[in-house]
């Protein structure tokens, strides 16, 4: 066992055009956890996630994954579900799967095939012929079918119905292995809170609260959703 954290963010700042989007973010995540990154729209969740995925460069501070700076190496062990799709919609699901297989050595093709079948998704259909919800499911399946160390899911439940949400949560639960961690950003807290180990509240670019989910429920005698509403009352 090493003391190296799976993810370690130190004094991270990010500004666009002199506007501070993230301010002095410090966060560390160890293996085997499901963490909820919770905040209102525009709080900085997606910016933080993009920085962790090396899609943006920090203004100052650093992000370490498995002890190393983010970059080519970290992408091999981070499986990322973006808020918006980056897939070519003209492609069939089966083509996207091949693409994933070529691109990520940890992609489990059989597992993806099985999950897609469970969800009644036709792999011979192009994405453009699928509803928004179906496309989101396909993307999530692809992301969860990698044997990654860190899964980062940006709003994975946004466009899907409640029944599918439950299926997605189960998929997340049953597919993450003991050493991997999952970071889920969302504002649909009540749907997701039962599976979270830890919650991180982010507001106006700052981490305002970080706690074990059950500890917080115990302390405040209410749900994470309720605490969130109280904390961020408009």
């Amino acid at each position: 066992m090493s003391n190296i954290k799976l993810l370690e963010i130190k004094n991270l700042n990010k500004s666009f055009d002199n506007k501070e989007i993230l301010k002095d973010i410090n966060l560390s995540v160890s293996g085997g956890k499901i963490i909820g990154l919770l905040g209102k729209n525009g709080a900085g969740k997606t910016t933080l996630i993009k920085l962790i995925n090396d899609l943006l460069t920090p203004t100052s501070g650093e992000i370490l994954i498995n002890g190393k700076k983010v970059g080519v190496e970290s992408k091999k062990i981070v499986s990322y579900l973006p808020e918006r799709t980056y897939l070519n919609k003209q492609m069939k699901v089966s083509e996207v799967m091949k693409y994933f297989k070529d691109f990520y050595s940890d992609f489990d093709y059989d597992k993806a095939e099985k999950l897609l079948k469970d969800l009644d998704l036709d792999i011979n259909k192009p994405l453009s012929k699928m509803s928004k919800g179906m496309q989101e499911k396909v993307q999530l399946v692809l992301v969860m079918s990698r044997k990654a160390k860190l899964y980062i899911l940006d709003e994975p439940l946004g466009g899907v119905d409640p029944a599918t949400r439950d299926y997605i949560l189960d998929t997340i639960l049953s597919n993450f292995n003991e050493n991997a961690s999952v970071i889920i950003s969302t504002h649909l807290i009540s749907d997701i809170e039962r599976i979270l180990d830890e919650v991180v509240f982010i507001d106006k670019g700052k981490i305002v609260l970080q706690s074990e989910a059950d500890k917080l429920r115990n302390k405040e005698k209410s749900s994470i959703d309720e605490i969130f509403r109280r904390t961020f009352k408009c």
Binding site: L173, D197, A213, D214, K215, R217, I224
Partner: protein, 119 residues
């Protein structure tokens, strides 16, 4: 074993309650081997870490024990399960009685209502 959770109460405490009922009702019998943390987590549809926490609590109460490398078992001490059942029944009885009290009914009346219930 599908159950629903109240998000206002720590999940591991709710899991602990469900587990106690399983032990009291004999779903898992004295001395029986329990499913793994992972299996429990999958059936309850909860985070394995949360399930683990509930099982640790249960172990702290001596209701279950770990056999090294072999998994977890229900205690062989049947008296302990009996005691748990007794305590649980008393809590339910008290809660019923308190409810009756709130609407102005005493112990004798409360018992009368119980007797009227068709099983």
């Amino acid at each position: 074993m599908e159950i629903s959770f109240d998000n206002n109460i720590p999940i591991y405490i709710q899991l602990l309650e469900y587990m106690k009922i399983y032990l009291i009702s004999g779903t898992f019998k004295s001395g029986e081997k329990l499913p793994s943390v992972r299996e429990f987590a999958n059936t309850f549809k909860v985070n394995p870490n949360t399930m683990q926490k509930a099982l640790v609590e249960l172990e702290g109460m001596k209701l279950i024990y770990t056999e090294r490398t072999n998994g977890k078992y229900v205690t062989k001490d049947e008296k302990l399960i009996e005691k748990l059942k007794d305590e649980y029944a008393m809590t339910l009885a008290k809660s019923y009685f308190q409810g009756m009290k709130r609407i102005g009914l005493g112990k004798a009346d409360s018992i009368k209502y119980l007797e009227e219930i068709d099983e």
